[in-house]
């Protein structure tokens, strides 16, 4: 994209926009990691898209009420995820990106900078959705259904509106609370939003006669026919190639985008200018003398440091919680009375699996995610002793959470609880040791991408925790 920038007026909107897109694509490339694996997955997915497209040749895809309501339901769900992502990206833009100082001190109108940044946010959030939809939608469009070329356009419109909404919510929180609070709230809201949609769909789909959140929403839209006529039908019509609908949807999105740039520009600028001042405020004097910070022994020192770092990084804590929540579907059969496997073995399985994943995550943070490795390296401490202390700290932090399910099992069967507890401990230790053995040092903030380049380690941990979980479930089942 650099070549394209050379051909544009430096400092112009398009130039800034291409720069943002360039940064977003590079960030996405870094985040996704394992380029070859992802390229292969996309290729396979695209081939599946062509297979589907070849089967749909000659099959009419008409804007029936079902199709229109379905598209609207998908749009609502996608927009909720996109808005969550946009909130988090807005936080990054406001507080983490290092380029705003440069851009805002350059002789450029701040509004232009904001619009370009908004484009960057939109581009950033569009990648995942494009990867999911376009490998299927484009082959179908190419092989006889050109109307589906409206899908990427609808995706773009959704991303633009979600980017504005995400930024507006972030700025509103900043206005009501402080930037620091806003950052924390956005991270928590983001985690809860992501998790709640996911959990809702899982819980709804688990019970007899219940349905997924998507299907529930679709059913509700169908009953009221919101997507079948009027404004509600526009996304569906646009996705299926209705030209006036495409113009209306994209035009409205562009209007919202431009309007957000104009309306939010000043608020954005004020909150950015205030951010450093308010972010560096003194927390006030903590209670107790300075002596409370000094501990004897390497383990106590490491534990205090790791516990504090985790406590003060809500984003990290919620990322970990979110990852555990995503494991719930595996454990969920335990709650499907009469349909799934028996309760106790399933709980034992879930407990061991979750404990292993949690211990693995925390072990990565303490062992690999060391922000001052040189400090540890120059300290008069054996590397192995420091790592053991870090691993122990990770396991101790994980312990209260890992104990929950074994304790729940103990209420029904103490013998089963002993097995679950033993396997939970073994799994947590094994997951920690895997992290220790295959550690890949990186900054803590890269926790979300820690599997970059170590796909096999992730797979190994998952398989190991899964197998130990199955073993625990089997043993609990054996003792009845």
């Amino acid at each position: 994209m650099t070549w394209l920038m050379h051909r544009l007026t430096p400092g112009g909107f398009l130039w800034l926009l291409i720069n943002e897109v360039r940064l977003a694509t590079r960030a996405a490339r870094q985040r996704r990691g394992g380029n070859a694996i992802w390229a292969l997955l996309i290729l396979v997915y695209t081939l599946a898209g062509f297979w589907l497209a070849s089967n749909l040749v000659g099959v009419p895809i008409a804007p029936t009420p079902i199709a229109l309501n379905l598209v609207l339901a998908v749009c609502v769900l996608a927009a909720s995820f996109m808005t969550t992502q946009a909130m988090l990206r807005s936080q990054d833009t406001l507080y983490l990106a290092g380029d705003l100082d440069l851009l805002l001190t350059a002789p450029l109108p701040p509004r232009r900078v904001l619009l370009a940044k908004l484009c960057g946010i939109a581009t950033n959030i569009i990648f995942v959705f494009a990867a999911f939809t376009l490998p299927v939608a484009l082959p179908v469009a190419l092989l006889g259904h050109p109307g589906l070329f409206g899908v990427p356009l609808l995706l773009l419109a959704l991303a633009m509106v979600s980017a504005c909404l995400g930024l507006a919510i972030t700025l509103a929180i900043v206005r009501v609370a402080s930037p620091r609070t806003a950052r924390t709230i956005a991270q928590i809201v983001g985690a809860i939003l992501g998790a709640s949609v996911f959990l809702a769909s899982q819980f709804l789909s688990a019970g007899p006669g219940r349905e997924s959140a998507g299907r529930a929403l679709f059913g509700w839209l169908m009953r009221h026919n919101f997507g079948g006529e009027g404004i509600g039908a526009l996304p569906g019509r646009a996705a299926l190639g209705d030209f006036p609908a495409m113009v209306l949807v994209l035009g409205a999105a562009m209007l919202v985008f431009a309007g957000a740039g104009a309306l939010l520009g000043r608020v954005f600028l004020v909150s950015y200018q205030n951010a450093p001042v308010r972010l560096t405020r003194n927390r006030g004097r903590a209670k107790g003398g300075i002596a409370r910070h000094f501990r004897g022994g390497l383990f106590a020192t490491m534990f205090a440091k790791e516990a504090r770092l985790l406590r003060r990084d809500p984003q990290l804590a919620f990322t970990i919680v979110l990852r555990l929540i995503y494991l719930v579907p595996i454990a969920l059969p335990a709650f499907t009375h009469g349909r799934g496997p028996p309760l106790l073995p399933a709980l034992a399985f879930a407990g061991v699996l979750i404990a292993g994943q949690l211990a693995g995550s925390l072990a990565w943070l303490t062992v690999s995610g060391e922000d001052s490795p040189d400090l540890i390296a120059v300290a008069p401490v054996e590397k192995s002793a420091a790592e053991r202390a870090k691993l122990a700290a990770a396991l101790l932090i994980a312990a209260p959470f890992a104990l929950v399910l074994p304790l729940a099992i103990a209420l029904v069967s103490p013998r089963a609880a002993v097995i679950a507890l033993t396997m939970t401990g073994a799994c947590a230790l094994a997951a920690g040791l895997v992290e220790l053995k295959f550690q890949r040092p990186g900054p803590r903030k890269s926790f979300g991408n820690r599997r970059r380049g170590s796909f096999l380690v992730g797979l190994l941990t998952f398989l190991m925790t899964g197998l130990l979980g199955l073993g625990a479930g089997y043993l609990v089942w054996l003792i009845g």
Partner: protein
Amino acid sequence: MSEAALQIEGLSKSFDKRVVDNLDLRVAPGELYALLGPNGAGKTTTLRMAVGLTRPESGSVHVFGVDALAEPLAAKRLTAWLPDEPMLYDKLTPAEYLGFVAGLWRIPPAEAAPEAERLLKWLELWEQRDTPCEGFSRGMKQKVALAGALIHRPRLLILDEPLTGLDANMARAVKDALRAVADAGAGVIVTTHILEVAERLADRIGIIAHGRLLAEGTLAELRAQAGSDALTLEDAFIRPTRDPEAAAGA
């Protein structure tokens, strides 16, 4: 001759090219030594080898007589390292950071806590002791890192470009702190690429370029070596290293 705070002999290291080349260096206890050289001269690599962060290809490093390559932990117990990028945790407060560093060096809490209080007050960080470091200026972070380096009372203090990015007041405070540490009997080594800093700060100056020690001595000794025609040490030692042909012609 008394035991050296730091004795380096025949130290060599290559990455893509030779970075440190058969270097000898001796710093006495109570001495403030400045290693002066242009960027890429091999200063940082030399010191990283001295503190055990980089393994030398050949040569030896002794800290107060302790072989740092054979007994790294014993040598590290005596040494503090302060790189140009402070080794801090943004989410920890200065008091917590000092608690962590003291724990790593296994300083008993009863000893470390009063020393931390003294250091924080001395470096004018006491009011910020419970504020996370993430919002601190570069100078304040540098002072927290300096407090961390001093909390275990090192006998050898090694600092890489300690005055980079500090304002005049802060630089003065750091210089005073280093002088006080040296006067208390510790060996102090600082690297710098700014001649003026070396001139004002150090008891002795070593001039390094292309991984080799070109000259060494007190300011007066170096001036004498430079000869009466040279206006400054820079004229005598640094400029020729930037322009090998000029050096050959001189």
